[in-house]
């Protein structure tokens, strides 16, 4: 049945390990959503991606029911995949762990364009390139 949307909530949560604690609790609680049920459904759906932080968008309706979609994987994950590396530079990002090309950056920027809410492709590319540098991945021309 079509329902009236009353709110959208965006979170980034650890796959398979969400809890009712903040930020989930206050973000969903403000809309009267059954937090335990969201946590259960999110963890069930993301258990096979444990270790990743996943962007999720929750739609809340007038009758306080909800559904959610998992958004595209974080840019850092896509960059690591493109660079063929297992992990990023870790805590401080001083170590260079791999490289990607400008074309790969643009490709990822296009995938992430909507989720980033970027102004245009140029800004999305700069954000992806910045994310790459932050993860210890260099961008080669």
């Amino acid at each position: 049945m079509a329902k009236e949307l009353t709110g959208k909530i965006k979170l980034q949560c650890p796959a398979g390990q969400a809890t009712p604690a903040p930020p989930i609790g206050p973000a969903l609680g403000a809309h009267g959503v059954n937090i335990a049920e969201f946590v259960k459904q999110f963890n069930d759906r993301t258990r096979d991606q444990m270790g990743m932080i996943l962007p999720v968008e929750i739609s809340v309706y007038k009758d306080r029911s909800f559904d959610f979609i998992l958004k595209s994987p974080p840019a850092a994950v896509l960059l690591k995949k493109a660079a063929g590396v297992e992990k990023g530079a870790g805590e401080v990002g001083t170590q260079i762990v791999g490289s990607v090309t400008r074309e790969q950056v643009e490709e990822i920027a296009k995938i992430k364009m909507n989720d980033l809410n970027a102004r245009d492709l140029d800004q999305a590319c700069r954000i992806i390139a910045g994310t790459a540098r932050s993860s210890g991945i260099t961008v080669e021309d």
Binding site: M1, A2, I9, C13, P22, G32, E37, A76, R126, S134
Partner: protein, 310 residues
């Protein structure tokens, strides 16, 4: 729960908030997720909260009061400065972090305060944690956990159907429930006295949810649910005294004839899910299927038709 136990569960948290230029939230969120900060949320909870600038987004993480130490705050600052340095983009400079202590709250249960019992006809819809008796002694208790996309009986179409069932169920009926969803119409009917219900729904989440609702209300032996479309009708024999369909108008129009064929000559139907702008076409389909409309109920933007064979 004792006041002491209640107090123990009400934990105090500190909000860690950074307003970031539009588009950069993900990389800042990654920097904020470490140690005791396990997740972030984007945006503010209400319009009353301080709003970010016109081209900014608020990224918020949270730590327990006990983890909110000077060392943690210093680490957050350090991570942001390190991030700015590594990213090296003019847009991502001068990020400011704000820490705000929040009042103690038990987030696992505090959302429940908004779920008050409500009555539809003879039915009192109560959440499972509501331990008192229903508001009126004569109310028929329907226990429903507010879950996921199926809602909890509050949608206008569901309420109108429940009201019709509440008024018309005499006891001993056989009911067909097309597009059963959470199973609330079948379970409500069974609680009101229906002898047997058969529901089906395309959504794979429907059957387990509806089975659980029937179990929670002790009517699982009288309520059968199946996953599937209208072809499920081929598996069930005989006519029904009541035919309910709370489904989209286009589906209803396509299958009005199938539903009419399963309605007993002395039975009645309740069709809902029809938006006000589809009323004329839906009404026509119902009549063309050989049914007579006795009542039309408009609630909000939704029309419900109740009637019997012509």
């Amino acid at each position: 729960m004792t006041a002491r136990a209640e107090g123990k569960r009400r934990l105090a948290w500190t909000e860690v908030r950074v307003d970031v230029p539009r588009g950069w939230h993900e990389v800042v969120a990654e920097a904020l997720i470490f140690g005791p900060c396990t997740s972030v949320t984007l945006g503010t909870t209400s319009l009353a909260a301080r709003q970010p600038g016109p081209d900014e987004e608020a990224v918020r993480s949270f730590v327990l009061e006990g983890d909110d130490t000077p060392a943690l705050r210093a680490e957050v600052e350090q991570r942001l400065r390190g991030l700015e340095e590594r990213v090296n983009d003019p847009e991502l400079t001068g990020l400011e972090v704000h820490f705000k202590r929040l009042p103690p709250e038990d987030y696992a249960t505090s959302w429940r305060k908004d779920w008050k019992p409500f009555r539809v006809g003879r039915l009192a819809l109560l959440p499972p944690w509501y331990e008192s008796d229903p508001p009126r002694a004569a109310d028929v208790r329907l226990t429903i956990e507010p879950v996921g996309s199926f809602g909890s009986g509050r949608h206008a179409t569901t309420r109108t159907c429940l009201r019709a069932l509440s008024r018309r169920i005499q006891g001993g009926e056989r009911l067909l429930d097309a597009g059963a969803g959470s199973g609330i119409l079948s379970v409500g009917a069974a609680l009101l006295g229906a002898r047997e219900t058969y529901g089906f729904d395309l959504d794979p989440a429907s059957k387990p949810t509806a089975d659980l609702l029937a179990q929670d209300n002790g009517v699982e032996e009288r309520c059968a649910f199946r996953e599937g479309d209208f072809r499920r009708l081929e598996e069930v024999e005989g006519l029904f005294n009541v035919v309910c369909a709370n489904i989209y108008a286009d589906v209803l129009m396509t299958h009005a004839h199938d539903l009419a064929q399963r309605l007993a000559p002395d039975g009645w139907f309740c069709f809902s899910g029809c938006r006000f702008d589809h009323v004329d076409a839906t009404r026509r389909s119902i009549v063309e299927a050989g049914l007579r409309i006795d009542e039309e109920h408009l609630l909000g933007r939704w029309m419900t038709f109740v009637g019997r064979p012509a």
